[in-house]
């Protein structure tokens, strides 16, 4: 068998990525658009409560939180969906016994999750740009970068989990729990300085604290006790750490 050139390798991986993302994410979304409200449900419910119960500031925190939560959730859902593909459909068996690498598979299915999140992200971006004075292109690009880093980080967690979890039910329970830990408990929908002082260092150890912090700064809101440069260092560092964990320690082949 002749060796594959770099160009062929690139072409093959691009086709694999496109096909997996399209057939697992985009096409189901187009065929069953009624699935979309589930993506909106939790972040928009919290946003609605903050809109009704809080002042304008609370709603602004809600917007940053909803955006962070949407990116976080979609990354984590990857874990549950991959577990379903592995256990219920045996699709991962076909993928492992094919030229598709673990990274290509993870990235492709994560892209498919992002496709589901896109309508929610677009709606939230539209509200943020409408309600934020001076929200320009640079702010938009910064926010997209934060969303992408958060999505890569939580997708890595999801992928890592999916290779260890042995049934779909456990996967959904685990993902729901991690979603609460990452996007409801920490200062994602509220400022970090409202936490008791002894809990703030703990909150700083949660990656999504920094995601929300950065989105709030893009929206021109006070960043709380955490300095912006710390969050700009912490979020990529967490992302690299979890991505490395997924690529190096995930069980692509069972022991």
């Amino acid at each position: 068998m002749k060796d594959e050139s770099l160009l062929d390798l690139l072409r093959r991986n691009l086709r694999a990525t496109g096909a997996l993302a399209y057939y697992i994410g985009v096409l189901p979304m187009l065929r069953v658009p009624t699935l979309l409200p589930f993506v909106f449900a939790t972040p928009f419910t919290i946003l609605f409560i903050l809109f009704i119960a809080g002042q304008r500031t609370a709603f602004a925190y809600g917007l940053a939180g909803a955006m962070t939560m949407t990116a976080t959730q979609q990354g984590l859902f990857l874990g549950a969906d991959l577990t379903g593909l592995k256990i219920d459909h045996k699709f991962q068996s076909m993928v492992v016994a094919s030229p598709v690498s673990p990274f290509t598979y993870m990235f492709s299915v994560a892209l498919s999750e992002l496709a589901f999140a896109t309508p929610a992200v677009v709606v939230l971006t539209a509200i943020i740009s409408y309600t934020t004075v001076g929200f320009g292109l640079l702010a938009l690009l910064e926010m997209i970068l934060v969303i992408v880093l958060t999505w890569v980080m939580t997708s890595s967690i999801g992928f890592f989990l999916s290779t260890y979890v042995l049934n779909t039910r456990t996967a959904f329970i685990t993902v729901s729990f991690i979603s609460i830990v990452l996007s409801i408990l920490p200062p994602v929908f509220y400022p970090i300085n409202t936490l008791p002082a002894f809990l703030r260092p703990v909150a700083e150890l949660i990656p999504t604290t920094h995601s929300a912090n950065l989105i709030r700064s893009v929206m021109g809101m006070p960043s709380g006790s955490s300095e912006m440069f710390v969050s700009w260092l912490a979020l990529p560092a967490f992302t690299i750490a979890f991505l490395s964990l997924a690529l190096l320690k995930a069980k692509w082949r069972e022991p």
Partner: protein, 330 residues
């Protein structure tokens, strides 16, 4: 196209393969030795839990062996997994298509995943859909397909690609007899026209007889018999003739003609040609209904694996499970 006059070369070699799953003291594979030849259909026969799927998962680089050596396409499954994966495909056992995708989508996805262009994937998908009689339902979502059609979609995903070595784990389970034969025809075509090697597992003895160039009967992770279907029959069964008796004889009377096996409502005798003549004459006199045929793989399987089934039974379980005597239940 298949090369003429080429010497058969091993495509899979397995030596002393052992696999223990975590938390289990019982080996799933216990010193398995096998050789499979390029361009042939090799069947693994065995009961549930015999180790067939475990072997397939190791050979397709999904599962690490505990010890032993497995070479696939001349490469070690432990160290050369990436290179092996480019040249194999599998239809796993009990797979399920994705509910929002139709039959055509699945095949196009399976092909594009391997780097095939969209237009080429559509062409290939059409041919495979046609071959497996899925063309009329190509645009129907898999959630609306019958169980047999879903199974054919999974087979189609594996055979549509250009993999030299195709693994099919119980591919025809749940298929009706006509669909099974369609699948058989396609597998034989892949072997003869495209020189592909196919490794499949099955519980169906007729499938193993019809398809296999070589087969292995495995039980408790060990090979009990291997060779061509006729080799296995001749080597592992002294009897040449099988006689199914519907009525007119008691089991005790039949023991005089050979080994008696209870097969549902029938009494089955495994015997030689001379005894078959005798019982035929006696049956004519008694106007008893009997049918005579050559022994099949089914008989070999029961002979080899059935003895283990009997060992599993508690003593005096049925009163008829007297293996070592001459009557036992199937």
């Amino acid at each position: 196209m298949k090369r003429e006059n080429s010497l058969p070369s091993p495509i899979i070699e397995v030596r002393r393969l052992v696999k223990y799953y975590r938390k289990s003291d019982v080996p799933a594979l216990d010193g398995l030795d096998l050789t499979m030849t390029k361009g042939r259909i090799f069947t693994l026969l065995g009961r549930n839990g015999a180790g067939k799927t475990t072997f397939l998962r190791i050979a397709t680089t999904q599962l690490m062996p505990t010890s032993g050596y497995v070479s696939v396409l001349g490469m070690n499954v432990v160290g050369d997994a990436s290179a092996i994966r480019k040249r194999i495909a599998i239809a796993p056992q009990e797979g399920r298509p994705l509910w929002t995708l139709n039959a055509k989508d699945h095949i196009v996805l399976a092909l594009m995943m391997r780097g095939v262009s969209h237009s080429e994937a559509l062409d290939k998908a059409k041919r495979v859909l046609d071959t497996l009689e899925l063309i009329e339902v190509q645009n129907v979502r898999s959630e609306d397909l019958s169980g047999g059609m879903k199974q054919r979609v999974l087979i189609a995903m594996a055979i549509a690609c250009d993999a030299e070595l195709i693994f099919l784990d119980e591919p025809t389970i749940g298929l009706d007899p006509v669909s099974r034969r369609k699948v058989w025809d396609e597998l034989i075509r892949l072997k003869t026209e495209e020189d592909r090697t196919i490794v499949l597992t099955t519980h169906y003895m007729d499938e193993a007889e019809a398809l296999s160039d070589e087969l292995a009967i495995i039980d408790r992770g060990r090979v009990l018999a291997t060779g061509s279907p006729s080799d296995v029959r001749e080597k592992h069964l002294d009897a040449k003739i099988r006689i199914d008796v519907t009525n007119g004889f008691t089991p005790e009377e039949l023991q005089a003609y050979g080994k008696v096996v209870r097969a549902g409502n029938l009494l089955r005798i495994l015997t030689d040609e001379a005894k078959a003549q005798e019982i035929s004459s006696e049956a004519l006199k008694r106007k008893a209904a009997i049918s005579i045929s050559p022994v099949s793989l089914d008989d070999v399987f029961v002979e080899l694996v059935g003895s283990d089934i009997d060992r599993d039974l508690p003593a005096n379980n049925t009163g008829k499970a007297v293996k070592g005597g001459s009557i036992y239940e199937r």
